[in-house]
């Protein structure tokens, strides 16, 4: 499925406190969390971002806490996918588990500018910058992760397994 949207760019080591500050974790309501997405980095982000937009970031995106509220907040804010140079591993796992598509593509991060409109094929990781016309290919998603996505997320995958066991 192709996602098309405007690009919002962020730097290296964007941590989970920036993505969703702990003071808001007395709620797990996606709508509430979305209102405060990226607040301590850019207080206006949640009001600027539109449905389908894409986040681009440098290395080690999502470092810090295990809080699943971080990818939930990004997804609920309307962001269709994240493209970064690399991810912190708990965030990476969480994003797949909750169904936020994420990709690793350092060249795209270096070359695409904030405000550009890009298209990301969530199945293949093919990225097209509609503004410049340039094409990129993200690191392929491991087959095992693909199985989880195809099953409809981790919980659906586990439901399938539990049924088989019965």
């Amino acid at each position: 499925m192709n996602q098309q949207g405007k690009v919002w760019k962020f730097g290296n080591d964007i941590d989970t406190d920036i993505i969703i500050a702990a003071r808001y974790l007395n709620s797990s309501d996606p709508v509430e969390l979305a209102k405060h997405c990226m607040e301590d980095g850019d207080p206006t982000f949640a009001s600027k971002v539109s449905a389908g937009d894409v986040m681009l970031a440098g290395k080690n995106f999502g470092c810090g806490s295990s809080r699943e509220h971080a990818p939930i907040a990004i997804k609920a804010a309307g962001v269709s996918c994240v493209v970064a140079k690399s991810y912190a591993r708990i965030f990476y796992r969480n994003a797949f588990n909750i169904g936020l598509p994420i990709f690793e593509c350092p060249e795209a991060v270096d070359e695409i500018n904030e405000g550009d409109v890009i298209t990301v094929d969530a199945a293949s990781g093919a990225i097209v910058n509609q503004t410049s016309g340039k094409h990129y290919q993200a690191v392929p998603i491991p087959d095992f992760m693909r199985q989880i996505i195809d099953a409809g997320g981790l919980i659906s995958y586990v439901k399938g397994r539990v049924k088989q066991d019965v």
């Binding site: 702990a22 003071r23 301590d40 809080r67 690399s86 095992f144 586990v158």
Partner: protein, 420 residues
């Protein structure tokens, strides 16, 4: 095939003779853990699976430690959800306020985690238990929910990096300084997706408390887990404490590492990590003049007995600077009681500090010590990200308990020797 300790623990849990880095495995877990922030999300996901009961009521630990004692109505609702689930599921390891502790101080103390275990926790500092020779790692709530149902989870076997600490530790240098120095050298993504194995003469001499501190912060370098081979010190800690049978695994001499770092600890002095990343570590002598408004001694990193004793040693007979708030938080009820017995509270109170019940509160900017705009705090906690302890324009400096205590006395970041 030669294997590292991490590979051996994972192979055993996966029922395999050997595993190698990059391999995807399904591994049985010995314990799963969540807190009052992550458990509510996990419980909701678990309920979607449609099972009545968790896989083993003795192996799911729920510790409401982040916003407890409840700081507001919303956190009370979250804690209630966790409490109700624990009661309905008849969980053996639910810890109510008054019997509760900071999860990563509490679980080892209560003997719920042990050498050779595989443990996942919906808290990034679950890696703490690697200090006992366990494979322990943080996951999110959905992973936790799946493991509550299945009693197993999938892992990609990580490559291991070996960190060798040679020589003798200087006075007032401990586990916190070794790990801050290490993160300073390799960066906050220096061990991304990797196992961090700590060894060498200085580690052999390090107390269990110091080892917990080191493994606790493996995640701050992006590590999947931190791990230390169990030895006599480990044995003394777990004997009579750890409830389940345990296994001491050790790395083979010819095991493969993606990298090896060697440090001469004689050259390491107390460290301070400047805002806004743990990698901004520098020796305290190079901190310059940094005034502080608050000091926090506690957290899953440095809220153990050894930490409180060290802070008390520095604070004894001294006063906290007039313009500084010092907050001391024992990690568990047991630590609290022990500190009380040893007279440490007298020392803290005489100095002008506040002593709190166990809570993660200030570490993550939850409650009990939130910073205002422009304020600076020196803390024995593990993260100094933007806005971590309060206002986005406040600052957190990470240090060991001796440096935090000394700084509370002088009102600026100080070496402990300054106040002796």
């Amino acid at each position: 095939m030669p294997m590292t300790i991490t590979e051996k623990v994972l192979a055993a849990a996966a029922g395999k003779e050997s595993v190698k880095p990059g391999e995807l495995i399904n591994a049985k877990v010995d314990l799963v853990l969540a807190n009052d922030i992550t458990a509510p999300v996990a419980i909701k996901e678990f309920q979607k699976i449609g099972l009545d009961k968790v896989w083993d009521k003795n192996r799911v630990a729920l510790v409401p430690d982040h916003f407890t004692p409840n700081k507001d109505i919303k956190s009370a609702e979250q804690a209630k959800l966790v409490r109700d689930f624990a009661h309905t599921q008849e969980l053996a390891n639910y810890f109510e306020v008054g019997r509760m502790g900071i999860e990563h101080c509490l679980l080892p103390e209560q003997g719920l985690v042990g050498p050779g275990d595989v443990i996942i926790g919906a808290d990034s500092h679950t890696c703490t238990y690697g200090a006992l020779g366990a494979f322990a790692t943080g996951v999110g709530s959905t992973d936790l929910a799946a493991a509550m149902a299945l009693g197993e989870t999938w892992f990609k076997v990580p490559e291991s990096i070996k960190f060798v600490f040679n020589g003798q530790l200087n006075k007032y240098v401990g586990g916190k300084d070794l790990i801050l120095h290490t993160i300073g050298q390799i960066g906050v993504d220096g061990a991304l997706y990797k196992a961090m194995e700590f060894c060498g003469e200085a580690i052999s001499q390090l107390s269990m408390d110091g080892r917990f501190t080191m493994c606790n912060m493996a995640i701050e370098a992006g590590g999947k887990n931190g791990i230390i081979q169990p030895d006599e010190i480990t044995r003394q800690y777990v004997e009579g404490r750890t409830k389940r049978p345990y296994t001491f695994y050790t790395s083979d001499p010819d095991a493969q590492y993606s990298k090896v770092y060697e440090f001469d600890v004689n050259k390491i002095e107390p460290q301070v990590a400047f805002p806004h990343l743990p990698e901004n570590a520098r020796p305290v002598s190079q901190a310059g003049h940094v005034d502080i408004d608050q000091a926090v001694i506690g957290s899953c990193t440095n809220g153990r007995m050894e930490d409180l004793r060290l802070a008390a040693e520095i604070l004894k007979g001294k006063k906290v600077h007039q313009q500084v708030r010092l907050i001391v938080i024992p990690g568990t009820q047991e630590i609290y009681r022990q500190a009380m017995r040893e007279g440490l509270f007298e020392i803290f109170l005489d100095a002008g500090a506040v002593v709190s019940t166990p809570t993660c509160g200030p570490c993550l900017g939850g409650h009990m010590g939130i910073l205002a705009k422009g304020e600076r705090c020196i803390a024995t906690t593990n993260r100094n990200f933007v806005g971590r302890m309060g206002h986005a324009e406040s600052e957190v400096y990470l240090a060991n308990p001796a440096v935090a205590a000394a700084s509370a006395i002088t009102g600026r970041i100080s070496h402990p020797q300054e106040v002796l």
